[in-house]
């Protein structure tokens, strides 16, 4: 075990996999000598050389398009998109090509690649360095979508993503890149995809959250405990394909459900979780299923702390499940 930040755990995951599998390569803007704008690829080029860790021209469409070509020709590419906000030039490649390659070719051609990208607010980044766009990708059959919330999960889930035979969007909560610290197993460490995690056990209300919202919800749960309510927090970790049963089992136990996500409320991924709970556990519910989310505005700069769900808003959401 070693104490690592979430960011350090991501670097460790890539280096570990690159040591054991020479098909793994990582590339993107500034990932080489600089080691990435956040430092996730620091030291990788030094250890593995320019063939396996390299800078690309400044073109997201090119990064993902060539990454697909590399995957088709037998490599295990990890493509870094500097900020999720910049991924849209590559949207066609992700949605029309990577996601559909296996299906449309009857399995003749596949696209085992990882698209890594920091997402989310809380770093004073304005519209273009803060958005949470996971729902676009969750809506695309053929893609897997993974979001870690702890250093150990970041390493284990990234290793699983690299080994996966399908394209994985690995979205990194950049707000907690350095603030999230914890023990991470050295060497081999795998956390399977599509397995959620009970962050804390509780009996009165289930809160479902992922990424940087998990920490916010933990604080809100502490506050709720003081008010006499026991909160269970579930982190699905993989959004697609989702571990539905961990959520359903929890809400069947607690009878209440709050879903917390940073993205704009309308059609956000949390809406899907709310719908699953409504469809499959209605008879267990003792209150409305509540979404606590970002607002339906572009991501603001100065007022970002009011935009993102905070302890107050999560607490209010929990409260609403008891007071409707």
């Amino acid at each position: 075990m070693a104490e690592m930040t979430l960011l350090g755990a991501i670097t460790d995951a890539m280096a570990t996999e690159m040591r054991s599998d020479d098909r793994v390569v990582v590339f993107g803007e500034d990932v080489g000598k600089k080691g990435g704008v956040f430092g996730t690829t620091a030291g990788i080029q030094d250890e593995f050389g320019e063939d396996r860790c390299f800078d690309t021209p400044l073109s997201e469409c090119g990064i993902i398009g060539t990454g697909i070509g590399m995957a088709l020709y037998g490599l295990r590419p990890i493509a870094e998109i500097q900020f999720l906000d910049f991924i849209y030039p590559a949207f066609d490649q992700i949605v029309s090509e990577a996601a559909k390659m296996r299906y449309r070719s009857g399995g003749e051609y596949t696209c085992p690649m990882v698209i890594r990208s920091p997402y989310g607010g809380g770093i004073r980044g304005g519209h273009y360095h803060s958005q949470s766009s996971e729902a676009y990708f969750c809506h695309t059959p053929g893609l897997k979508v993974v979001i870690p919330s702890t250093p150990a999960d970041a390493k284990g889930l990234l290793v699983s993503s690299i080994r996966d035979e399908d394209p994985v969007m690995f979205l990194e909560p950049k707000r907690i890149y350095r603030t999230s610290k914890g023990e991470v197993p050295e060497g081999e460490h795998v956390v399977p995809l599509s397995k959620g995690r009970i962050v804390r056990e509780g009996t009165d209300c289930t809160v479902v959250a992922y990424g940087s919202m998990v920490g916010v919800c933990e604080k809100a749960a502490d506050e709720a405990e003081k008010l006499g309510k026991s909160i269970e927090i579930v982190d699905p970790r993989t959004l697609v394909p989702l571990d539905e049963s961990i959520i359903l089992e929890s809400v069947k136990k607690t009878g209440r459900c709050v879903v917390v996500y940073e993205a704009p409320k309308t059609c956000g991924y949390g809406s899907e979780i709310a719908a699953i709970v409504a469809e499959r556990a209605m008879e267990y519910m003792e209150g409305p299923i509540i979404r606590v989310a970002g607002f339906d505005t572009p991501f603001p700069y100065t007022l970002e702390n009011l935009y993102m769900p905070d302890v107050r808003r999560v607490l209010k959401g929990i409260h609403s499940t008891f007071t409707w």
Binding site: V25, D51, R52, T56, P57, S59, C61, G62, I64, G65, T66, G67, I68, G69, M70, L72, Y73, G74, L75, P77, P89, D92, Q93, S96, E97, K100, M101, R102, Y103, R104, S105, G106, G107, E108, Y109, T110, P141, G142, K144, D164, E165, D166, S194, P241, L242, E244
Partner: protein
């Protein structure tokens, strides 16, 4: 850099002095046979669509020299990232005819399991990567695969196809740029057939030629008479050699003409002059090559008849088999989205199966 177009076979079948690539009789025959077969296949494919037996078809009439001549410059181990107008390549590479024809019908026997429109082939058996409809997306794939070959230190060459319209796509820019920066072993074939559905090539670019765009990326751009199979072959052979020797990518502009409408859903007479068509018809690549072969005493009337009859019979038999083959199973719709079927997909499959077939669930009365 020049806007000159390399031609070897003149319209009367004579050869420009010193330019003949001197292929053997067998090589020439193989190329010619493939062109004739590709045209027969296209005629038959469109006819099936018109008869309502398949949903869609897309012809390559007039572009046979362009795609067959270029692909012929590759080794079988080299990879192709096609667009949707290169039907002669699977024929040239000997793909099983049933795989092609079953794809038109979307019936069992189609490698892509009835999941795509007709002519969007995936033919792994000949290193012919799955075709998609969005324009130009395969260009970056070819560049990336070529980058991967370089990283893996093998000597495979990658060839990708797109039209004049494709040069306006994001992926054209990104693909040529990435390949040039990394000196990837990739040959970019721009089949300039003058039309992107109804938009003429001069509305597609302000550049005088498509080939000149290559120069800005830092690679050679060559223009060739796309209706002259020997010229296309020769130019592509040089490009493939360069790529294999590690000298980097090349873009080839084959100047040709889409003699058919864009697809079975299009009617080119609504936007195109008949006179232009007639002019290009004089340059028909099959007629031209035939004249050359006559001069070389390779072509005979009997041989022509034999190719046509044999292939029509083969094709008809394959169509019969494909049409009679079953549709893909309901289960197959839910397979292959991911390597393993997810719980969600399994549940959705159950939901559909409960309404289909002999074991369909009886909903019963709605409760009052």
């Amino acid at each position: 850099m020049t806007s000159e177009v390399l031609t070897i076979i003149e319209t009367d079948g004579k050869v420009a002095k010193g330019k003949d690539p001197n292929l053997s009789d067998d090589q020439l025959k193989e190329l010619y046979e493939t062109m004739v077969k590709a045209r027969i296949m296209d005629e038959r494919g469109l006819a099936l669509q018109r008869q309502g037996r398949i949903g869609f078809y897309l012809q390559a009439l007039g572009q046979e020299a362009s795609h067959i001549g270029s692909a012929a410059a590759l080794l079988d181990s080299d990879w192709l990232f096609p667009a949707y107008r290169q039907p002669g390549i699977p024929i040239l590479r000997g793909a099983p005819i049933d795989q092609i024809v079953c794809e038109w019908f979307g019936h069992e026997g189609d490698p892509s399991k009835g999941r795509q429109m007709p002519v969007h082939y995936s033919l792994r058996c000949i290193n012919f990567v799955s075709i998609s409809s969005p324009i130009g997306t395969q260009i970056t794939h070819a560049a990336g695969a070529a980058m991967a070959a370089k990283i893996r230190k093998d000597d495979t060459v990658f060839m990708t196809y797109f039209g004049d319209g494709g040069t306006s796509s994001n992926d054209f820019h990104a693909g040529l740029n990435f390949a040039a920066v990394t000196k990837a072993p990739c040959v970019f074939i721009c089949e300039n057939n003058q039309w992107a559905i109804s938009v003429p090539s001069h509305r597609q670019t302000g550049s005088e030629t498509m080939a000149q765009k290559a120069v800005a990326y830092g690679m050679p751009g060559v223009r060739v008479d796309g209706n002259d199979i020997l010229a296309v072959y020769r130019v592509c052979m040089e490009a493939v050699d360069r790529a294999r020797k590690g000298e980097g990518p090349t873009m080839v502009e084959t100047v040709t003409y889409r003699m058919a409408s864009h697809s079975s859903s299009d009617d080119a007479s609504r936007y195109r002059d008949q006179e232009e068509y007639e002019r290009w018809k004089q340059r028909d690549p099959i007629q031209r090559f035939q004249k050359y072969l006559k001069r070389r005493k390779v072509w005979t009337e009997e041989w022509q008849t034999e190719i046509e009859e044999t292939y029509k019979n083969e094709l008809n038999a394959a169509i019969k088999r494909a049409e009679a083959a079953p549709k893909p199973s309901i289960e197959s719709m839910f397979e292959g989205v991911y390597m393993n079927k997810t719980q969600q997909l399994a549940a959705q499959q159950e939901e559909l199966l409960s309404l289909e077939g002999p074991e369909a669930e009886d909903l019963g009365e709605f409760p009052l």
